[in-house]
Amino acid sequence: MFLLGIESTAHTFGVGIVDEKLNILANVNSTYIPPKGKGIHPREAAIHHSENAAEVINEALKLANVRMKDLSAIAIALGPGLGPCLRTGATIARFLSLQFQLSLVPVNHAVAHLEIARYACNEEDPLIVYIAGGNTIITTFVEGRYRIFGETQDIALGNAVDYFGRMIGVEYPELINVEKLAMEGKQLLDLPLVVKGQDVSYSGLITSALKLIKEGYRVEDVALSFIEYAYSMLCETIERAIAYTNKKSILLTGGTSRSIILKEKLEKLAQGQNVSFKVVPREYAGDNGGMIALTGMLAFMHKVTIDPIRSYVKPMWRLDQVDIPWR
């Protein structure tokens, strides 16, 4: 039994293929890279997806050595994400499902980031920190669902770092380049630290950091301060979550898990709290088709399917709205 999963929630069009033993046979991804200094334009990204879809699907099939008629189901990330991008992927998935008479499996993009990390790191019940361009979530599994212990009240950590990076003129990938600048910083400047209970907030931090740049402070020092404050806010809520939930491990997933400085901080944090710390492998860190296929297979094996005619996209589909029958 094979399943093909499609990811198209934001800048990446990805296709993954899994078998019934949850082996990921293919994970092919094509990412839209915005013009220098710009963020993702949803329509431009959607156009990229429709132009590259056929090639990515064919490559994945070839890599997995699977034909369309060998498949049992198509999994599609229906949300959360950018409307035009979601609709492009959903249209392709519905077509494949109807044309080849395959079951259609709805997958929540956030759940997929969590499941791929658990699968790849072999973790049964960790505290999961999911940080990316669109999400900053601290979560554990309780009674059938992933419950959100803490999250961002406005923009996501990845989004904040990328935006700050573009505003000070660093090149793609902004995360890595902002951190490079930060490592050259010497002086820690004053910025707002916004931790509200278990939640964090990043919008005010960006405004304040950009103000320091305008006031003529060294870019390296502002970058250092921005990164220190942003990560300290997150680490604090993670530490609270560990103390509260008594979980024995921290698992980091999502595109922003590529951060070098945050990983260092979390290693120290885990040591201090006497828990283990693991990070999702690089190939599954950013958005990818493999994670949709894997999660789709878990759902499909528990009879989660959707009628193509009712398979609307859900741009605001929250993580804690999804039932997880396989755990």
């Binding site: 419950r147 820690l188 220190e228 300290s232 680490c235 509260y244 201090g272 929250r318 804690d320």
Partner: protein, 225 residues
């Protein structure tokens, strides 16, 4: 008396770690002739050292201030003995009594009323507790209820923050004593209306808070409204 413990270390003994939270350690010991609690905000290695000491000292001052203001308004909290900024430590009274969580079902109406009254007083002077659980209230031997752990407290006049405080109380009762939650809430609100003239506004906010997405699961389990 000078702030900072170095000059009378001989009279101050911090000898037994009784609790290790995410942010602070709670030690038991002696302060001169008195039994005392030492709340120590420990350094975090993952934080930049300058940011770390800044955060620890700001929060220590704020917590002590909030406790002091509460005492001034006759809200029973542990008496402050000393604030040692150098070690970001608050030294306070050792409170002897029973944690409300252990005896709540015995007198849940009275306790709920009293917690409502305490929060009403705190909210009326724009202090929100931030961690309203039954573990943070202690019944003293004289029958009075003492409120502890102001680690997440804030000065705030926002209706939202006050609503969150009540939500925390409700959620705690629901998870620990769900069959008593309806009655407890009734008596809580009686106590809460004593000092809070705009308790209706806060109640509306509470309803809104509980309708939010992230609390869907709780809403399905228990119907308070």
């Amino acid at each position: 008396m000078e702030i900072g413990s170095s000059r009378y270390t001989l009279e101050i003994i911090k000898d037994k770690l009784i609790k290790k939270g995410a942010e602070a350690e709670i030690w038991q010991g002696r302060w001169f002739d008195l039994q005392a609690i030492f709340k120590v905000r420990v350094p975090k290695l993952w934080r930049h050292p300058i940011l770390d000491s800044k955060i620890r000292s700001i929060r220590t001052i704020k917590e002590a201030k909030i406790m002091y203001y509460s005492l001034e308004e006759n809200v029973r909290v542990p008496y402050l003995y000393d604030v040692d900024l150098e070690n970001s430590t608050i030294i306070m009274e050792y409170v002897d009594g029973t944690i409300l969580k252990e005896i709540f079902p015995k007198k849940h109406k009275e306790f709920s009323f009293e917690i409502g009254r305490i929060l009403s007083k705190l909210h009326s002077i724009n202090i929100v507790h931030g961690d309203v659980t039954l573990s943070n209230f202690i019944m003293l031997n004289d029958g009075k209820i003492c409120t502890i752990d102001f680690g997440l407290s804030e000065f705030s006049n926002r209706v939202e923050d006050k609503g969150i405080d009540i939500h925390l109380f409700l959620r705690n009762i629901e998870s620990s004593f769900s069959s008593l939650s309806k009655e407890s809430f009734e008596y809580f609100m009686k106590g809460y209306s004593i000092f809070m003239k705009n308790h209706g506004e806060i109640l509306n906010k509470l309803k809104e808070i509980r309708r939010r997405g992230r609390y869907i699961a709780e809403r399905r389990r228990v119907k308070i409204f």
